[in-house]
């Protein structure tokens, strides 16, 4: 069977094989065995590295699918030459991996994944594509946050600073917010952004100018929400924060205005 997929991650399997977690266009998330790819002369190995977009031939094995052919469609090479971009791509893959199960085809998620990886590898500021990915992914996996009416009293949210509750999955108005333990303040600017992303396609989303400060607040809110839903933290944000800080330091901290 022919399929197209992004390699999410892999682990060694047997003597020379690998077990791959793939997000396929045709079957959603699946696991498949790639035989012999740890041998240096394997023809498939280079095509099956993490977050490569790859055309595949899959066959049914005894328990798992088996990759019989692989040919890279896009290796997203710029991700492999820049630590910050790599960090963002790893975060995207980890987030998607943690939010999805082997439950069949979901071509919208596949589309979002390949679009996001190509945006991270080609656009000047990877952060915007990643913030957009978070909000769209939450939509597609059924955790769309309520951003227009208060999740406490139902009042329409006005143009002022509010609160955000991960537990209740949305915004709380200034009078409900302080009464909910765990709710976090969210600035109007950040909220506007989230709403804009939730309602826009990527071309429109890009029109918004994302400053470093705003990006950090969005990131913190999303981290808080996602960690609550997943019931444990992700591994990649620590790596991302670190390589981003190192890069800022080496560039002399010129980048407060635009997120890297």
């Amino acid at each position: 069977m022919r399929a197209e997929a992004v390699v999410l991650r892999h682990t060694d399997w047997g003597e020379a094989d690998r077990l791959l977690w793939l997000f396929t266009r045709e079957l959603g998330k699946v696991r498949a065995i790639a035989k012999g790819v740890r041998k240096p002369r394997s023809r498939k190995a280079g095509h099956l590295e993490p977050f490569t977009r790859v055309g595949l031939m899959l066959a049914h094995g005894r328990d798992l699918l088996i990759v019989t052919q692989a040919e890279a469609v896009d290796a997203y090479l710029p991700l492999r030459d820049n630590l910050v971009r790599l960090g963002y791509a790893l975060y995207v893959v980890e987030l998607l991996d943690r939010f999805t199960y082997e439950e069949g085809e979901n071509s919208s998620i596949y589309r979002l994944l390949v679009d996001t990886l190509s945006r991270i590898s080609t656009e000047e500021t990877a952060a915007l594509a990643v913030r957009y990915f978070e909000i769209r992914l939450l939509d597609l996996v059924g955790f769309r946050p309520q951003l227009f009416t208060c999740v406490g009293c139902g009042a329409v949210i006005r143009a002022e600073d509010q609160f955000f509750s991960a537990e209740h999955g949305g915004v709380l108005c200034p009078s409900c917010g302080p009464r909910h333990a765990g709710a976090r303040p969210i600035s109007m600017a950040t909220l506007k952004y989230l709403r804009h992303f939730q309602r826009s396609n990527y071309t429109d989303a890009q029109r918004a100018h994302l400053t470093g400060t705003l990006d950090r607040e969005l990131e913190a809110i999303m981290q808080y929400y996602v960690t609550y839903i997943l019931e444990r933290g992700l591994n990649t944000p620590a790596f991302l924060r670190r390589v981003r800080a190192d890069e800022m330091r080496s560039r002399g901290n010129e980048s407060e205005e635009t997120a890297p």
Partner: protein, 201 residues
């Protein structure tokens, strides 16, 4: 069939080894049970000595015999101190030594960065490498991490950490495998082979 506990214990232990499933583990266990020679004893002794008889070299973190002050490579007077080759695992040192083409020293990271698995710089011997460079006398660091996503991430991270120290940082050339077919090469390998092309004059 209910197996006696000693048999079951060995089967369980063997099946935790990479590449060995429960069937192979049972086969090996019954083989050892019926082995008439010294094999079971030799194996038991070798296993016990594996941990107690080995240690990490405090300079390069390669595996070495316990009780040595440093490993044979670090101790050798015939090797250059100015070039250090950084690898992921002790097996990589063996592979490079078999070529006979490198006469500097090594540094074994004991793994590679894997942000998704949560393996961070602190889990590797990176701080020790930086201290070695800071101590002086090293002109070049050759990054010989694997040509994989994790190996690339590790190399990029090390480059970022090492360049400010004023040391030359190089990476093993990446190209087409010997005996391989150009038409089967992936984009990444081909592009890197192209970037690393060499004059033939």
């Amino acid at each position: 069939m209910l197996l006696p506990v000693p048999l079951q214990n060995l089967i369980n232990a063997l099946s935790r080894l990479p590449g060995i499933g429960p069937k192979t583990a049972s086969r090996l266990t019954f083989y050892l049970l019926h082995a008439s020679d010294d094999l079971p004893n030799d194996l038991a002794e070798a296993l016990l000595a594996l941990k107690s008889g080995t240690a990490y070299c405090p300079i390069c973190f390669n595996i070495t015999a316990a009780g040595r002050e440093m490993c044979e490579i670090c101790e050798s007077r015939d090797r250059s101190n100015g070039v250090v080759c950084v690898v992921e695992e002790p097996m990589d040192v063996l592979a490079l030594e078999r070529t006979g083409g490198f006469a500097g020293r090594y540094h074994v990271l004991q793994g590679a960065l894997s942000p998704i698995e949560g393996i961070s710089p602190e889990d590797l011997r990176i701080r020790e490498l930086i201290e070695r460079v800071r101590a002086g006398g090293i002109q070049e660091i050759i990054l010989a991490t694997n040509p994989s996503m994790e190996g690339d991430a590790t190399a990029m991270y090390l480059r970022q950490q090492l360049l400010p120290l004023g040391v030359r940082v190089t990476r093993l050339a990446r190209g087409l495998p010997v005996g391989g077919d150009l038409e089967y090469a992936d984009q990444s390998t081909l592009l890197r082979a192209l970037a690393g092309r060499q004059d033939m004059n």
